[in-house]
């Protein structure tokens, strides 16, 4: 296997994303997520998921990613857990709580990191149909919520201004659709590659 040159080692990338994501919950960077919903919802939360995802990539040992496999056949348990965690932290109520209550914020950090980790574990072992179940739920959910955040006149989070809510709604919708498109392209490519192999 040829490795691309000058790429971050997986463990360094995971550590970097983790430090940045957790750092946003601690002073001095904390003021960013306290003042801007964009920093909180569109930057920190996805970064937490990403750092969990990258960390799972560094799991080594006798069977690596196949560990815990019996608990996560076809990635089903992981997809369900990740969907719940992500939906939970998209509620305006919980976003407010994460800003105000340090306990809620640490729960947010831990659970979103966990969601990222189990997602990678799930994607690794899920057939395309189940991946589609996850993406087909998560992407429309986040997109719809993003569009709602961006278009409603109601201030949904007491912790953030309407302006901030609108921008993060747009950001959330764009991010969700981007990830959906990315997955679609990846899946189509993989399907093409495997059909070529069997020809």
């Amino acid at each position: 296997m040829k490795r691309p040159a000058r790429r971050l080692p997986p463990s360094t990338a995971a550590l970097l994303a983790g430090v940045l994501a957790v750092g946003l919950s601690l002073p001095p960077m904390r003021s960013l997520i306290e003042q801007s919903m964009v920093w909180h919802m569109v930057i920190q939360m996805p970064l937490l998921v990403l750092s969990g995802w990258l960390s799972m990539g560094t799991v080594s040992g006798p069977s690596g990613m196949d560990r815990w496999g019996y608990w996560n056949h076809y990635g089903l348990s992981g997809f369900i857990a990740a969907l719940i965690v992500m939906a939970y932290w998209m509620l305006p109520l919980t976003i407010d709580r994460a800003v105000v209550l340090p306990t809620a914020d640490s729960m947010k950090v831990a659970s979103l990191w966990f969601a990222g980790a189990v997602l990678r574990h799930s994607f690794h072992r899920a057939p395309a149909v189940l991946q589609m179940f996850f993406m087909g739920t998560a992407v429309p959910m986040a997109t719809w919520l993003g569009i709602y955040f961006a278009s409603t006149d109601l201030r949904l989070c007491n912790a953030y201004s309407l302006e901030s809510q609108m921008v993060s709604g747009q950001g959330l919708a764009i991010l969700a659709m981007l990830l959906g498109a990315l997955w679609l392209v990846g899946t189509i490519r993989a399907a093409q590659a495997s059909s070529r192999r069997f020809r």
Binding site: Y70, W71, H73, I84, P92, V100, A159
Partner: protein
């Protein structure tokens, strides 16, 4: 494919059973957590949860030293206790151009209704400025004049000590966030405080008729 390659000694059905139990556990735990957080699916925002909590149990309010437009220093507790009136309380800052001007005109209408319905002395209006830094007695006087406040119905006060600001806002459940152009944004609502100085209802600021009806029920 990957699943099959791991630990071939165990039958696949054992793995499926564990996976289904784990999925079910996650689903149930998630559902319980969601219902618990949203109070059975009824509150998705902090504002609805705050209002529901007050409806369930009246909330006693801590006391604060305040100063009025006349420069007279008193406490919120003494103000609420005076005359056993029911108060409709809102939060403002006098520089406000946005939602507070809407609140201001709603309070003007409420003042007129209270006078028309002969509720003077039974239902009072209180505006509390959460910006004691720039709202001194003179600023409050200016606001009172602009709004044509009738002192017997409608009062405006602010904190004498800016250090109390956080505690006051927490007591009522108000969150103030800075907005563009030096303005503030906050969850504006009408807060009904009974004769015992307890917060008993929170009503949307665009439903003044409902606020007045609720206050009238509680009024002596």
């Amino acid at each position: 494919m990957n699943a099959r390659s791991s630990r071939p000694a165990e039958p696949a059905t054992a793995g499926l059973f564990r996976t289904f139990s784990a999925s079910l556990a996650a689903l149930v735990a998630g559902l319980v957590l969601m219902l618990w957080t949203t109070e059975g699916g009824s509150a998705f925002t902090t504002e609805t949860a705050r209002r529901a909590a007050v409806e369930r149990a009246p909330q006693p309010l801590p006391d604060f030293s305040v100063v009025g437009a006349d420069g007279e220093v008193t406490t919120l507790g003494r103000l609420f206790a005076s005359g056993g009136r029911v108060w409709i309380v809102d939060f403002v800052y006098t520089r406000c151009q946005t939602v507070c001007s809407a609140l201001g005109s709603i309070y003007q209408q409420l003042q007129q209704r209270i006078l028309d319905d002969g509720l003077k002395g039974r239902v009072g209006l209180l505006s509390i400025s959460f910006d004691p830094g720039s709202d001194d007695a003179a600023a409050l006087r200016g606001y009172a004049a602009r709004m044509r406040m009738d002192v017997d119905v409608w009062r405006i006060v602010t904190l004498t000590s800016a250090a109390d600001r956080r505690r006051l806002l927490d007591a009522f459940g108000i969150m103030v966030v800075p907005a563009p152009l030096g303005e503030f944004e906050h969850n504006a609502a009408l807060h009904i405080v009974d004769g015992q100085g307890q917060l008993v209802h929170i009503v949307d600021y665009d439903s003044p008729a409902q606020a007045l009806a609720l206050a009238r029920v509680l009024a002596p």
